[in-house]
Symmetry: D2
Subunit: 116 residues, 4 copies
């Protein structure tokens, strides 16, 4: 599935190749060496940075922060033995079901138990 | 499975097509109608859910929550006139620079002002 | 205005008194009935809302959102058998050590393993 | 309002006293010198750490992370000219209204526009 035009798959391969390396070899090797909590913490952190860049309406920073967020979710996926293709397949599956309307149904179900 | 870049681009088109619709037509139309803060709040929320699914080591839920997170970042990108291709280009640019080592450099610069 | 420690302790008691109630009796009873993940999700959500209110520089909303965040951390503490007094004691302990400088030392230690 | 038994008020005073100091004098002085985004980022970060500690069921770490979260919200309040008393007054106001049931009403109103 990794043809030359699949950015996330290629990044995931680069990330995977970093996993076995010594922690001082790369940022990703270091992140893996620090363990899953360090990786997950970055996911939370980068999400907050996306929100702040967006609140500033700074489109260049939004792109950079979403790139950071996606990148760290790729590291998180790798940490749990998953690939971006797994997520993309899930997104395609939902889209296929009815043009994203499954989101609505799922969220609706979530909410029904949610209203206080 | 299609190319990942294509999947994201197609999802972004579907999201874009929802933008003008009445709020009761779809989950995405409703989210747009509620405004940018509602969209950004979802980004924060879904990041927390990724973290919780990962802490449970529940791979199926991790896939679902990362799908939710990516999906809502696509909505956020659309809200600010951006496309997944902008983020993918940024990720490719960084990868091209030196196999992700730019991340290290950038983070290092961030950190130098960061240690208390 | 009463003493802050007392306010938090009283709120914690109210929260605790809701725990055994039927889910339809109060927002807190309902939150407990939904389980720890629902409570933790609120902590993440309210933190994002604090950030957004602050980015807007809307002081009234900042107060409201920090109130929401503290409130939900009190619910989270209760869910794990903890009290605000435990957190206040920890804050006092740190303050006592050297006017918060322990924060610096701890963060410094964290960071030393952190620079990529 | 700052009697000797009000931990948050006393911490807020210590934080305020750090504000004018040189950035190398303390962790808090440094955080102020880095600006509001750095402070808000910490709020998001510490919320994620509370969630992770709770998912581990590690009560000692929950206390420490909630202490970190409350502490950084105090810094955020200070950055926007607010005090913990403002938040405590808001919490008391809500409690006074009807034993927290205003939370329910407010959330209910939020949700009514929320179900997709």
């Amino acid at each position: 599935m990794n043809n030359g035009n699949d950015t996330l798959a290629r990044l995931a391969e680069v990330i995977e190749s970093r996993r076995g390396q010594a922690a001082d070899k790369s940022y990703v090797a270091r992140l893996f060496s620090k363990g899953n909590d360090a990786i997950l913490k970055k996911v939370g952190e980068e999400a907050t940075e996306v929100v702040m860049a967006a609140k500033d309406g700074d489109r260049r920073r939004i792109v950079g922060e979403v790139a950071d967020l996606w990148f760290h979710t790729l590291v998180a996926l790798a940490a749990y033995g998953l690939k971006p293709a797994d997520v993309l397949a899930e997104l395609e599956r939902r889209e296929g079901m009815s043009g994203l309307e499954e989101f609505a149904l799922r969220k609706l179900r979530d909410r029904e138990g949610d209203t206080p």
